[in-house]
C-alpha cells in the first residue's frame, strides 16, 4: 500500500529575475512501513525534497499524494493541520524548548492537535512516549541536563506524540557521536519494525544510510539511484515509478 506518491515534483526558487530549479521532476512512491534514506551531495535538493515531503513547502509543479490525499495545493493552514496529524519531525539540532522539562517538550504538539486532550491526559501520553524511547526516569529534566542522545530521543518522543504514520528525520545524527548515533538509529529501526512507522531520513552519511532498508540518492534535482540496501528484505525494495 502506497503511503506517499510523488509524480513529477518540481521546485524552482525565484532569485530576482533568475529562476533556480532545484527539483527537476521527482517521481517516487513510498509504502507504509518503509525505512528510507534520502542521500546526496549538498545542493542535490534532498533538503528541498524533504521540505516538500514534510508539507513544509509546496512544489512548483507535480502531484503529491499522502495517505490517499492530493496535498500539493493545500493552503498553509491545511498543511499545518496535516503536519500535526500525520507527520513527525526530528531535527539535527534537536530543537527542544530550552528551560522546559522533557515531558512538556513532548506534550507541546498536543496543544495544536484537534484531539483536545486535557492536561492530565496530555501528560500521560507524553510520559508514555518518553517511556517508549527509554527516558521514563528523565521526565522532569531540562534539555540542558540531558546528553545529546537523550535530547534526540526526547525529540523523537515529541515527533511521535500525535501517533503519525510518517516520521521525518533531517540529519538525525549530525550532532551526535558515533555511539549515540548508533543508539538513535537502532531506535528508528525498532520503531520501524515494531510499530510499523514509516521513517524517512535525510543524511549524507553513508553509515546512517546503511541502516535504511532503501536508499534514494539525489543528484542535481533528480533521482540518481533508488535501491534497497544490502541485507534488507526484498519485499521492501521500492521501485521508482
Amino acid at each position: 500500500m502506497e503511503l506517499i506518491k510523488l509524480r513529477g515534483i518540481e521546485k524552482t526558487y525565484q532569485m530576482g529575475d533568475i529562476s533556480v530549479p532545484v527539483l527537476k521532476g521527482i517521481s517516487l512512491s513510498i509504502k507504509r512501513g518503509e525505512l528510507l534514506a534520502l542521500t546526496g551531495s549538498s545542493g542535490s535538493g534532498k533538503s528541498t525534497l524533504m521540505n516538500i515531503l514534510g508539507c513544509l513547502d509546496r512544489p512548483t509543479a507535480g502531484e503529491y499524494w499522502l495517505d490517499g490525499q492530493e496535498i500539493s495545493q493545500l493552503s498553509t493552514d491545511e498543511r499545518a493541520l496535516l503536519r500535526n496529524r500525520k507527520l513527525g519531525f526530528v531535527f539535527q539540532s534537536f530543537n527542544l524548548l530550552a528551560r522546559t522539562s522533557a515531558i512538556d517538550n513532548v506534550a507541546m504538539p498536543l496543544a495544536y492537535s484537534a484531539e483536545n486532550l486535557n492536561d492530565r491526559e496530555a501528560r500521560e501520553r507524553a510520559a508514555e512516549m518518553l517511556m517508549r524511547v527509554g527516558l521514563a526516569d528523565r521526565l522532569d529534566h531540562y534539555p540542558s541536563q540531558l546528553s545529546g542522545g537523550q535530547q534526540q530521543r526526547v525529540a523523537i518522543a515529541r515527533a511521535l506524540i500525535n501517533r503519525p504514520p510518517v516520521l521525518f528525520a533531517d540529519e538525525p545524527t549530525g550532532n551526535l557521536d558515533s555511539k549515540t548515533s548508533e543508539e538513535v538509529l537502532q531506535m528508528f529501526e525498532r520503531l520501524n519494525t515494531e510499530d510499523g512507522i514509516t521513517i524517512i531520513m535525510v543524511t549524507h552519511d553513508p553509515k546512517v544510510a546503511g541502516h535504511a532498508k532503501r536508499v534514494i540518492r539525489l543528484h542535481d534535482g533528480l533521482i540518481l539511484d533508488d535501491a534497497p540496501t544490502a541485507g534488507s528484505n526484498s519485499e521492501n525494495s521500492g521501485e521508482a515509478s
Partner: protein, 456 residues
C-alpha cells in the same frame, strides 16, 4: 479550554525567561503605577480644591423675595415679604439636591462693649445651620448657638474676628455681654478667621445670632416696615435696659375701632425673613437644586403656572464655573501624562516582544513544523504580551497605590483611592498589550517554518 491552554503556554514561555519578562513589564509597571499614583493624588488634590472653592461659597444659593412694584416703579429684589422660615424648612425637607438651608434676617446697627463700639458689616439672624451652609463649622473659641436658642429667641451671639479685635482688643469675648440696640447679648463663641471674600469684603466683620432674636428683639421689623432705613423710631425710643422689645413704632394711621377691625381682619401672617441660604450637595447639582427650590416655593406660594416667580434665586455661577474648569483641567492634565507613560511602556513591550520573536525564531519554526498554524502563533504571542501587560498592570496598581499612600504619609498630601483609575489601568494595560503586542505577534505568525527552523 483553548484560551486557557494558550494562556498556560504563554505563562510557561514567560517563566523560561523571568528576568526578561520582568524587565519587559517594568515599563508597564512604572506606567500604570504612575497613572494610579497620579490619579489618586490628583483626585485628592481635586477634592481638596473643590472643598476649598466650596468653602468660598460656590455651592451656596441665595433665595430672596421677589420684587414689589407700585405704579411701574420696581423696588428691587427683596422688596416683598413673602419668604418664611417654613419655606426654608420645606426646601431642606423636599429638595434632595439641597444639603442644608437656613433662614436669614439682616440688620445693620451698632454693637457696644464697654467704651468701644462698632458697626459690623454683617449682622445676621440665622440658625445654627448657617455655619454648615458656609462651611464654617470650626469655631475659634466657644460653641455655636443651638436650635433651642432660635426657638427661645435667646440673646446669644457669635462674633467674627474683626469684632473681637475692634471691641475686645484681643481679650477672649466668650461669656462677655455686648449690647446691640441696648439689648444685652452674651457672646458664646468666636468664628474662625475667614478673611476677605472674592469681592474684597471682610467676611470676619460679622455677628451671628438666632434669627428670632435679631428679628423680634433687634430690628423689630414686621410686615409693616420691612425697610430698615425708615425704622428710626426704634433707636429714638428711651433706652432702658429692661426694654427688651424696642419695636414700638409710631402709628401712621388712626387706630381702628372694633367694627373696623372685624371688617378688615389683619391676616395672620407668618414671620417673614429677608432671605434663605441653601447649600447644594455639590456644584454639579446646583442647577438641579435651583429647579427643585423653584418647584417647592411656587407650590408653597400658591403660584399659578402663568404667574411669575415671587422670589429669585442667585447662585455663585462664577465660582462654580471656576470650580468645574479647574477640575476638568486637572483631570485632563493627569490623563495626558498617564497616556504618555502608558504609551512609553507599550513601546517597551513591543521592543522586547520583537526581540523575543527574533530570539525564538527556531521555536516558532518548530511549533509550526509540529502543526501550529499562523493564528496559533499569533495568539500565543498576543496572549504573552497581554499576560505581561496585565501582570505589569497588577504590579503597577500595587506600586502606585503604595506610592500614593507613601505620599500621604510623608508629605501629608490629600489622597483619594480611585476604583475607576484601577479599573481603567487594568483595561488600558490589557489594551496596550494587545495593541503593542500585535505587530510582533503578527510578524511571528508570518514566519516561514523552513526559514525559521534554519535560523541561527
Amino acid at each position: 479550554m483553548r484560551v486557557y491552554a494558550t494562556a498556560r503556554t504563554a505563562f510557561k514561555a514567560l517563566r523560561r525567561n523571568p528576568m526578561r519578562a520582568m524587565l519587559t513589564t517594568l515599563g508597564i509597571v512604572i506606567g500604570v503605577g504612575a497613572v494610579i499614583a497620579m490619579m489618586e493624588i490628583g483626585a485628592g488634590s481635586s477634592a481638596a480644591l473643590k472643598k476649598t472653592i466650596a468653602s468660598m461659597g460656590a455651592n451656596v444659593l441665595v433665595i430672596q423675595p421677589g420684587t414689589a412694584a407700585s405704579g411701574g416703579v420696581s423696588f428691587g429684589a427683596g422688596s416683598t415679604t413673602n419668604l418664611t422660615p417654613e419655606d426654608s424648612q420645606a426646601i431642606l425637607r423636599e429638595c434632595p439636591a439641597i444639603r442644608n438651608a437656613t433662614p436669614m434676617v439682616r440688620a445693620r446697627t451698632q454693637v457696644v462693649y464697654g467704651n468701644r463700639n462698632w458697626v459690623p458689616n454683617a449682622m445676621y439672624g440665622t440658625t445654627p445651620a448657617y455655619l454648615a451652609v458656609q462651611n464654617w463649622s470650626n469655631l475659634a473659641e466657644g460653641e455655636p448657638f443651638s436650635d433651642r436658642d432660635v426657638l427661645n429667641s435667646n440673646r446669644v451671639c457669635l462674633l467674627g474676628q474683626t469684632l473681637v479685635r475692634e471691641l475686645f482688643e484681643g481679650v477672649s469675648p466668650v461669656g462677655k455681654d455686648i449690647r446691640i440696640k441696648n439689648i444685652a447679648f452674651r457672646v458664646i463663641g468666636v468664628l474662625a478667621p475667614k478673611g476677605a471674600n472674592m469681592m474684597g469684603m471682610d467676611q470676619d466683620d460679622i455677628i451671628l445670632a438666632p434669627w428670632t432674636t435679631i428679628k423680634y428683639r433687634v430690628t423689630g421689623t414686621s410686615l409693616t416696615s420691612a425697610n430698615q432705613s425708615t425704622d428710626s423710631t426704634a433707636s429714638t425710643a428711651v433706652n432702658t435696659l429692661s426694654n427688651r422689645y424696642p419695636a414700638t413704632q409710631g402709628t401712621l394711621y388712626p387706630a381702628q375701632d372694633s367694627v373696623q377691625q372685624s371688617d378688615n381682619p389683619m391676616p395672620v401672617r407668618f414671620a417673614n425673613i429677608d432671605s434663605i441660604m441653601a447649600a447644594a450637595n455639590s456644584s454639579e447639582e446646583i442647577s438641579l437644586a435651583i429647579e427643585q427650590i423653584t418647584g417647592v416655593l411656587r407650590e408653597r406660594h400658591h403660584l399659578r403656572p402663568d404667574e411669575p416667580d415671587d422670589f429669585s434665586i442667585r447662585d455663585m455661577a462664577e465660582l462654580t464655573k471656576t470650580l468645574s474648569t479647574t477640575t476638568t483641567l486637572m483631570t485632563n492634565l493627569l490623563l495626558a501624562v498617564a497616556m504618555i507613560s502608558l504609551v512609553v511602556g507599550g513601546v517597551g513591550i513591543m521592543n522586547i516582544m520583537l526581540v523575543s520573536v527574533t530570539e525564538r525564531t527556531r521555536e516558532i519554526g518548530l511549533r509550526m513544523a509540529v502543526g501550529a498554524r499562523g493564528r496559533d502563533i499569533l495568539r500565543q504571542f498576543l496572549v504573552e504580551a497581554v499576560v505581561l501587560c496585565l501582570t505589569g498592570g497588577a504590579m503597577g496598581i500595587v506600586l502606585g497605590h503604595g506610592g500614593s499612600l507613601l505620599v500621604k504619609l510623608l508629605l501629608h498630601w490629600p489622597v483619594e483611592t480611585s476604583p475607576t483609575a484601577i479599573a481603567a489601568a487594568v483595561l488600558v494595560s490589557a489594551g496596550v498589550g494587545i495593541i503593542f503586542g500585535f505587530y510582533p505577534a503578527w510578524k511571528a505568525s508570518r514566519l516561514d517554518p523552513i526559514e525559521a527552523l534554519r535560523y541561527e
